[in-house]
């Protein structure tokens, strides 16, 4: 395993990635007062359909409805008082935005949130609920970043990156510490992939605890930049994305890519109709409101691609990270009826 360095890498301890099991354990202590320990659900009916024993780590029940509060609160509570006093800023289509607004509220500092105009209504509502100051941008990543930069210049606020940051990755990694405490016998974890913050943290913690554990990513076909990156051996970005999974449209960063390249065993690509089927199954059998990005892990487990892969034969007890539950009921209903 090659060591990595460079000015953007905050920590090169251990395996040389941006985060490690120590920074993840530190995060777990730091964020404990601000996050829920979420339950793990299972269903013999879904197991019978999947042909595997599945353990759903329900981050949809997390504060602000998604795992993002883990990374956001770790980043924000790691700031020293002087940095924190100027507030924080981020750009996000939703869950990270709400998480930053909530974590900033808990710390008592201002949060400036740049949101693209196509963000889901329920996610924008969450930002408002936690008192974040919303700045609307265009949909493009360039527009978001330029608005973000302007806020930084005007206010001195600290950027809380949604994934490409040691503290964010370490915070997200706490979800896999918890899952492996709750169900130690898990041999495989399936994680939605977008910018790679969640899967990097999950993989770094899980492989430190159990080097033989399999880490699989689930990615939507309409935003399969990570699968393409793994195939090409370098970060690939796409000119545009098209998927119902609004939380999975970002591309890998320079801190998450090395972890994805080295520690993610395989990426399973699924189409939107499989995601919608999985959302429906979560609602009808698990009784859980799951957003498209949160349902993609189940969609991957049920896919033919998974059944044909070597991972199918090597896994029997599979943890699925249900990343979030922020879905407008109308959107769920309409997606089911389009099928």
């Amino acid at each position: 395993m090659e060591s990595r360095d460079g000015s953007d890498v905050h920590s090169t301890e251990g395996w040389g990635y941006a985060a490690d099991i120590d920074s993840i354990r530190e995060a777990q202590v730091r964020i404990a007062p601000y996050v829920h320990k979420t339950p793990v659900l299972s269903s013999t009916s879904i197991d019978a359909i999947a042909g595997k024993q599945l353990f759903f780590k329900c981050e949809c029940f997390q504060k602000a409805g998604a795992f993002k509060i883990r990374g956001a609160s770790n980043s924000i509570f790691a700031l020293d008082d002087e940095q924190a006093s100027k507030g924080v800023v981020t750009h996000s289509s939703g869950n990270h935005a709400a998480a930053v607004a909530l974590a900033a509220k808990l710390r008592g500092i201002p949060a400036h949130i740049v949101i693209p105009r196509n963000a889901p209504a329920c996610k924008v509502e969450n930002v408002k609920r936690y008192g974040g100051r919303i700045i609307w941008s265009d949909v493009s990543i360039e527009s978001r970043e330029s608005f973000c930069k302007r806020v930084q210049e005007e206010t001195g606020a600290v950027l809380i990156h949604p994934f490409n940051n040691k503290y964010t990755i370490s915070g997200q990694g706490t979800v896999s510490l918890e899952l492996l405490e709750q169900v130690p016998e898990i041999d495989t974890i399936i994680v939605p992939i977008s910018g790679g913050g969640l899967i990097s943290g999950v993989a770094l913690a899980a492989k430190a605890i159990n080097p033989s554990i399999h880490i699989l990513a689930a990615e939507p076909k309409g935003a399969d930049d990570s699968a393409q990156s793994k195939a090409a051996g370098k970060i690939i970005t796409l000119p545009s994305t098209n998927t119902i999974a609004d939380g999975l449209r970002a591309f890998l960063g320079d801190l998450t890519w090395p972890v994805v390249r080295d520690l993610v065993d395989d990426i399973i690509v699924v189409d939107d109709s499989a995601i919608v089927d999985a959302m429906k199954m979560c609602y009808e059998i698990l009784k859980v409101a799951v957003e498209p990005s949160g349902a993609i892990g189940l969609a991957a487990v049920l896919s033919d691609e998974f059944k044909r892969s070597s991972a199918w034969h090597e896994s029997s007890k599979i943890g699925i990270i249900v990343s979030g539950g922020n879905v407008d009921l109308g959107v769920l209903w309409e997606s089911l009826h389009k099928q």
Copy 2:
């Protein structure tokens, strides 16, 4: 507290009700292999709306989607082999039906299920999924009972009553043992009331553990026979019922009434629109699919009637039994849009 007896009372130990803390602890051991220990969820957003700290005991995540498997498996696994070999029979609009089918399947015996023609589709599907033999009846309780009796005569199957039975009540009581282990500081428990099996078990267990705990019932306005019974001091039945809460249309039995009369501190009556609002809040904030009967506890906590009651001042940490999650998505969507 007056002692009670009579030929229908299977146990007169302790306080003289049909069940007691010992029969409930026995049930907990008997059913442990067949039920989930369901998680307790909380939400600071909902707490802020309610003005109380709420703990949602999520029986919607229970096997077959409702608490009913607790009483059904306790009743069915308490049968001796000769009784069990002839199978079991019950009549139910849904959740108890599926629970009996599942528990019978687990014991390897036949289940005959009499279902009224107006039962929700998803609940009928559950019965089919577990291999129950369905016998359709008319909607009236007379029709259900007469079909049930015929099956008993023809097959020798044992009737598993949905609520008026020591083993059913004892099984349902295990939900409150669990809740008080998970959150010992709870001072009030709110329970949906219909035939009274769940609330009897919950009250008997909770008041044995903590005599000062408050037990409140939540009942739909269109089937408020229990509130009328409490007011009249005797069992009142209604000529008809009209509520979206399809699981709450039964009337008290002779074994549940004494417990409701003596141990239920108050009954909060709510209308259907409050139930639908609570279902929506469960979906949008808790991220949980909750059927109308399961959402009624939250509706009661949020009601003006509760705020005006003495119980409001005496409660600060409230357990809410979310009894089940079997709701057709279409029904949820349509109810929200009728508002």
